[in-house]
């Protein structure tokens, strides 16, 4: 019978090779998470909030898939306002959030989580396709090799948010109202 002893050395050689090869390749790939983070920052420029505030706060809920990608934007100016990013876990922590990103792993809880932001000027965004149909404002969707977005106009209106006409035009699909 063919019986190799587990080639421990070979495994460590592969590991070492991987480690050494890493720096050369940094910064070449744009991941889906980076694109999503860029969307979150961009939406701040295309939506009008009822009250002005010196800082913009993006809040993250659920599995933190975008935190690392958003880190590079933290403290930067967006539309003349400083950008902050925060993780939240309960309704009490949502007070000064402008955007609430809900990870698609929380799909089962969308109904409950959207209740937390009811009648508050918070733009809700998720990367689950069903989000807008569940009453969320924006869903980021991977479709045909691109990352696109759906908008629920009624949800934006309920939150007292005014989306720019350009944003509505770029949306893949708008439900709950006309473009």
């Amino acid at each position: 019978m063919y019986s190799p002893r587990f080639p421990r050395l070979a495994v460590w050689a592969v590991l070492a090779g991987l480690t050494l090869a890493m720096p050369a390749s940094f910064g070449q790939a744009t991941t889906e998470a980076q694109l999503k983070a860029a969307y979150l920052v961009n939406f701040l420029k295309y939506v009008e909030w009822p009250a002005q505030h010196p800082v913009f706060t993006i809040c993250l809920l659920g599995r933190d898939s975008l935190g690392a990608s958003l880190a590079s934007y933290e403290g930067r100016q967006v539309g003349g306002r400083e950008l902050r990013v925060r993780r939240v876990g309960s309704p009490e922590q949502l007070a000064d959030c402008h955007e609430l990103f809900i990870s698609d792993t929380e799909e089962a809880r969308f109904g409950a989580l959207l209740r937390w932001v009811e009648n508050q000027p918070i733009l809700t965004i998720s990367d689950a396709e069903v989000f807008t149909r569940d009453g969320g404002a924006i869903a980021l969707i991977r479709s045909e090799g691109r990352l696109q977005f759906d908008v629920n106009a009624a949800a934006l209106a309920r939150a007292g948010l005014k989306p720019s006409s350009q944003m509505m035009r770029l949306a893949r699909q708008v439900i709950g109202g006309s473009r």
Binding site: P4, F6, S25, T30, E32, N42, R63, D64, E107
Partner: protein
């Protein structure tokens, strides 16, 4: 070894620097909409805020693995130990104590446990759900009893099926390959109105017998299985919904046992092969209702009714009906995120055995188990420190009240890294089969010199038999774990952890008595028990000895281990994923000789290393080429049947060598909806053995290289 494990993350740290997405920030919404996403997708993969050693397998990972069974898919996760026994049988565990009847792992499909009440494990011979219908698999290593129930001692495998909403349409997947491999899967989904959606899927699989190890005969393990799954979801609005799952599965596999001793009056023994056919069935119906109260409490109630049967030739026939009700509540308030639950499960079985091979105490039993738990995720310092603390109480018909506790501390010094500490205590309630089954455990030959000079001695067969013990208690485990996770750059992340887990009251055995089937043994101080021998079908005065043991909680041991997972998107279309696990089991020294032998067998059957390196490469928009290199360290298994008189009745071990093997997959998309793939599996380390069955003396079969072609059509 420990030294080298700690060096690796240090090396990763040294080269890592967080890559800023400067260029993306300058893009307008218009540019973003047009930007191509070419990267190999990994949704739902992030685990930055999970205070446990966790791993996620996505639907894409499953498809690109080329695997056709659940255990084969699980091989990619660090800390999961998978060893194939034959065409349908697998030994699967997390963090040690592997076996055909491995019992320290909890496996859930959409919240329903795949627990086989006879031995508290999973029978992988039956497919609980077609692989194609799985959305993702989350694997959480380490004790998770508080949230997931008393059998999540070493870990939890949580299988989440594809949602039905927004997934109308159908798919047909057909696979044909070497060794008579056929696999047909079909799925259709739709929406009956805006709020209701459903999916119906069916799968059938077949494999021709594999080769017996070291012989040019086949292992009689022809395998066929089928599963039908249905899921219906209805959104009731205002945060409430209703779902129904229905599934029915069947499997059939024969096996070859080199076991049916026939004795000659002169002490000779011959083993006749038996080929019992094993058939399994499972039907389950689950309903779940989730709602939201005005106070903001998210509640869910799930009820299950299931029926399953297992028949092994004419040796054993088991059937059970299970009822399970499970309530869970969740409320996030201020710094607290509270989860609580209440569950009750009742299992009524009906077991028929073919004595004397297998016997069961009580043909019908009802086992009830009630559990209650409370868990809090408490943010001590916003953005920085989170404390998780929970407790669970279970009351089971057999083992009384059991306590589980869990405490985690998660520290996130930055957005890109997190460290966690976990302390947990988890019991494992003894299973029906462990308590009530009496069965042959093996046979060896004891050489006895003749008292008369010049006359040759005899080799006396010693038959091992383990008797039931209704008082078998729960096993206990206490674990400690330290982990660190870092996102070095948007395209590179790593996860490393170390653990130590202490087990007490593990199931072992002790000798109750030794008796002979011939009056001559009285001369050696061994009782002659003709009544017992008659029970085993032996005529009077046959020179055979019986060593009768019983199961008791007399073992203890400690596992130590380290695990590593690296996920690296080298280029937008090329991803590498590495996982590696090292573990070591040290059983305590025992004075009881039977316990000592069991402890040694457990230690020697634990492989030290498991590793997997996967490469997923999108050659272009229509072609994919994937490579999977994986391997495991060797192990040793006790020879249940040891007919070598030279060993003098002592335990003999067979070595299962370590291996490194290779899988390849090339997929080509033809048009929008059709994908053709060629998959080669086990291409190196050909004809190896991965495991030798325990308790049931299934003949050892080889895992052969295989090729298959798969067509996937979506409509």
């Amino acid at each position: 070894m420990n030294m080298r494990i700690t060096l690796l993350p240090a090396a990763l740290l040294a080269v890592g620097s967080l890559h800023a997405a400067e260029d993306l920030a300058e893009l307008s919404l218009e540019d973003l909409v047009k930007a191509d996403v070419t990267s190999v997708a990994r949704k739902s993969q992030s685990l930055a805020d999970v205070p446990a050693a966790a791993f996620v397998i996505t639907a894409e990972d499953i498809r690109r693995s080329g695997a056709q069974t659940l255990p084969d898919v699980l091989r990619m996760a660090p800390g999961v130990e998978v060893a194939q026994i034959d065409n349908g049988r697998y030994a699967v565990t997390v963090r040690g104590f592997n076996g055909r009847f491995a019992n320290k792992l909890q496996v859930l499909v959409d919240g329903r446990s795949l627990y086989q009440p006879m031995f508290a494990g999973v029978m992988w011979e039956i497919d609980p759900i077609p692989l194609e219908d799985i959305e993702r698999i989350e694997i959480i290593r380490g004790p998770g009893a508080v949230m997931w129930g008393v059998n999540a001692v070493n870990g939890l495998i949580n299988i989440i099926s594809r949602r039905t909403r927004g997934r109308a349409g159908g798919a047909v997947n057909v696979t044909a390959g070497t060794q008579g491999n056929g696999n047909v899967h079909a799925r259709i989904g739709g929406a009956s109105d805006a709020d209701s959606s459903w999916r119906l899927s069916a799968q059938g699989r077949h494999l021709e017998p594999s080769q017996l190890h070291g012989q040019s005969k086949d292992g009689k393990d022809r395998y066929s299985s089928g599963v039908v799954n249905f899921r219906f979801d209805r959104d009731l609005g205002a945060g409430s919904d209703f779902s129904v799952w229905a599934s029915a599965a069947r499997s059939r596999i024969t096996e070859l046992w080199n076991f049916s001793p026939t004795f000659s009056p002169t002490g000779g023994v011959a083993l006749l092969p038996l080929t019992p056919k094993q058939t399994m069935s499972d039907e389950t119906l689950v309903g779940r209702y989730r709602w939201l109260t005005a106070a903001g409490i998210e509640s869910s109630i799930q009820a299950l009714i299931g029926h399953a049967s297992l028949e092994i030739g004419n040796f054993a026939k088991e059937e059970h009906v299970v009822f399970d009700v499970d309530y869970q509540g969740r409320r996030a308030v201020g710094e607290h995120d509270l989860t609580w639950g209440l569950s009750h499960r009742s299992t009524r079985d009906d077991i028929d055995t073919h004595e004397p091979y297998v016997a069961i105490a009580g043909e019908n039993r009802t086992a009830r188990q009630t559990g209650v738990f409370l868990h809090d995720d408490w943010t001590l310092l916003p953005e920085r420190v989170k404390l998780g603390i929970g407790g669970r109480l279970d009351k089971a018909t057999a083992n009384g009240t059991q306590v589980s506790v869990n405490a985690t501390l998660l520290w996130t010094p930055s957005r890109a890294d997190s460290a966690w500490l976990k302390l947990a205590r988890a019991p494992r309630i003894s299973a029906r089969g462990e308590r009530d089954i009496s069965i042959f455990t093996g046979m060896s030959l004891l050489p006895v010199p003749s008292p008369v000079p010049g006359v040759p001695g005899m080799n006396i067969p010693v038959i091992g038999y383990i008797a039931d013990n209704r008082d078998l208690g729960a096993e206990k485990a206490k674990g400690f774990e330290l982990g660190y996770r870092k996102q070095f750059a948007a395209n590179l992340g790593a996860d490393v952890n170390v653990y130590r887990q202490r087990y007490t009251d593990l199931r072992g055995a002790t000798q109750v008595r030794m008796y002979g089937c011939h009056p001559m043994f009285a001369g050696f101080g061994i009782a002659y028990d003709p009544a017992a021998c008659t029970y085993f079908g032996l005529p009077a005065a046959v020179p055979v000895l019986f060593s009768q043991n019983r199961t008791v909680n007399n073992l203890a041991g400690t596992t130590r281990g380290a695990e590593l997972a690296v996920d690296w998107l080298v280029r937008p279309g090329w991803r590498l994923q590495l996982s590696y696990a090292w573990s070591k089991l040290d059983m305590d020294d025992e004075s009881d000789p039977v316990a000592r032998a069991a402890a040694s067998a457990a230690e020697r059957s634990s492989p030290r290393h498991y590793g997997s390196l996967r490469s997923q490469w999108n050659i272009d928009a229509n072609r994919q080429f994937d490579v999977w290199l994986r391997g495991a360290d060797g192990l040793e298994r006790v020879d249940q049947i040891n007919l070598d008189p030279a060993s003098g009745g002592a335990t003999n071990f067979s070595r299962v060598p370590g291996y490194v093997t290779l899988d390849l997959r090339h997929a080509h998309r033809v048009g929008k909806d059709l994908e053709l793939a060629l998959v080669g599996r086990n291409l190196i380390a050909r004809n190896r053995v991965e495991y030798i069955s325990d308790f049931i003396p299934t003949a050892v079969t080889e895992i052969a290289p295989s090729w298959a072609v798969t067509a996937r059509w979506k409509f």
